[in-house]
Symmetry: C2
Subunit: 226 residues, 2 copies
Amino acid sequence: MATRTRRAERREEPLSRERIVEAAIGILDTAGEGGLTFRVLAERLATGPGAIYWHVSGKDELLGAATEGVVAGIVLGGACASATPQEAIRALGLRLFDAIDAHPWIGNQLSRSPGQSPMLRVFEHLGRQVRALGVPRAAQFTAASALLNYILGVAGQNAANAHGQESERNRTEFLDTVSAAWANLDPDEYAFTRDAAEQLRDHDDRVEFLAGIDLILAGIAASASD
Amino acid sequence: MATRTRRAERREEPLSRERIVEAAIGILDTAGEGGLTFRVLAERLATGPGAIYWHVSGKDELLGAATEGVVAGIVLGGACASATPQEAIRALGLRLFDAIDAHPWIGNQLSRSPGQSPMLRVFEHLGRQVRALGVPRAAQFTAASALLNYILGVAGQNAANAHGQESERNRTEFLDTVSAAWANLDPDEYAFTRDAAEQLRDHDDRVEFLAGIDLILAGIAASASD
DNA sequence: ACCTGAACACCGTTCAAGT
DNA sequence: ACCTGAACACCGTTCAAGT
């Protein structure tokens, strides 16, 4: 509804892979992963479902292209050469984190089909910074992988959490609910989690995410000086 | 086929939540996430699709119960109190890693619905070891989360990779294919990844996974001594 | 070359009807 | 209380037919 003022989109504009992917991203952002359907997509593009198959081989490729479309811009976005490697890694992480916040479906999609374009871009970028960190060659792969896997884990988590927390209000409510649920767990079986419930209430996901990155960076630094 | 010698399973055995979940796990292991259907499941249980809904609210709950069923045993499995916290964390990680190797669908399922039972068990276990490590209280949540997110990232990755690598042969072929593909990437855009392709060929996922865990543990230790 | 839209083979889920 | 299985409202995908 609010997204009607998108471009001009008169009609008659010819179908193209680009337009299809763009429309798919719009639907994914609005209606979530389950909302993207060839029928809805076709309606949005004022055509029939079959037409889409002329430009795209199927739903998997469509989801891949949508992910690629969003991630490509993110990774290249902030290549300011002046930062330290640590800062560059944190910056890339944050950009990805924010992108997943804006497009939660990416969180699930990123993990699929590894060795594929979007994830490879992230891996490459992380690897370069790891190398710049002075990590010995034999340890570079492990370090870059650890960072990537951590980021993918958080991404999946954020995608799963994305329900109706568009507003800060819902977000706080959500944290309160989880925190309360955790505090009611069995004291013997879940001693640690119950304790953690307190810290959860005033908890900033972004800060927590960065703290995890820093932990891995500290581990990389510590392992290098052996 | 090979799983026919499962129990006795004469017939007439009454339907139960337990039997349904068990059958679902069997189908998931054999046919993958896409192979689990209420119709196949009903056929396997010699009943109609509707009968399943009497014991289980829907597909989401079924998948959750299947995940819970597999993970619960894993986490509790090796609670030998004699090990150091580091060893306990590595052991839990390895058990999860192997479980995901055996039931790849868990990798995707674990991330869903956080604050839910299976993931919470893992988090609790990790948290206790982190505490035993002597990490100050304010840093415990971050440390346990980092470990969990890393594990979830690897889990998702393994789930995505699980195609037809049951045998070692296929696994090696797969690594060779990826390695070859990476070596053909654009030298400018993917300098690091191309270089990493070499190391990938004789690469042990389990070893690599543990190396990542150790990196985070090193980071936790380094951060503690500030 | 590109689009249309009916049709196919599926889904998850429901529900009247049975026992 | 528990099971049956036809039926509903969807899917992704195909394909003859159009332009």
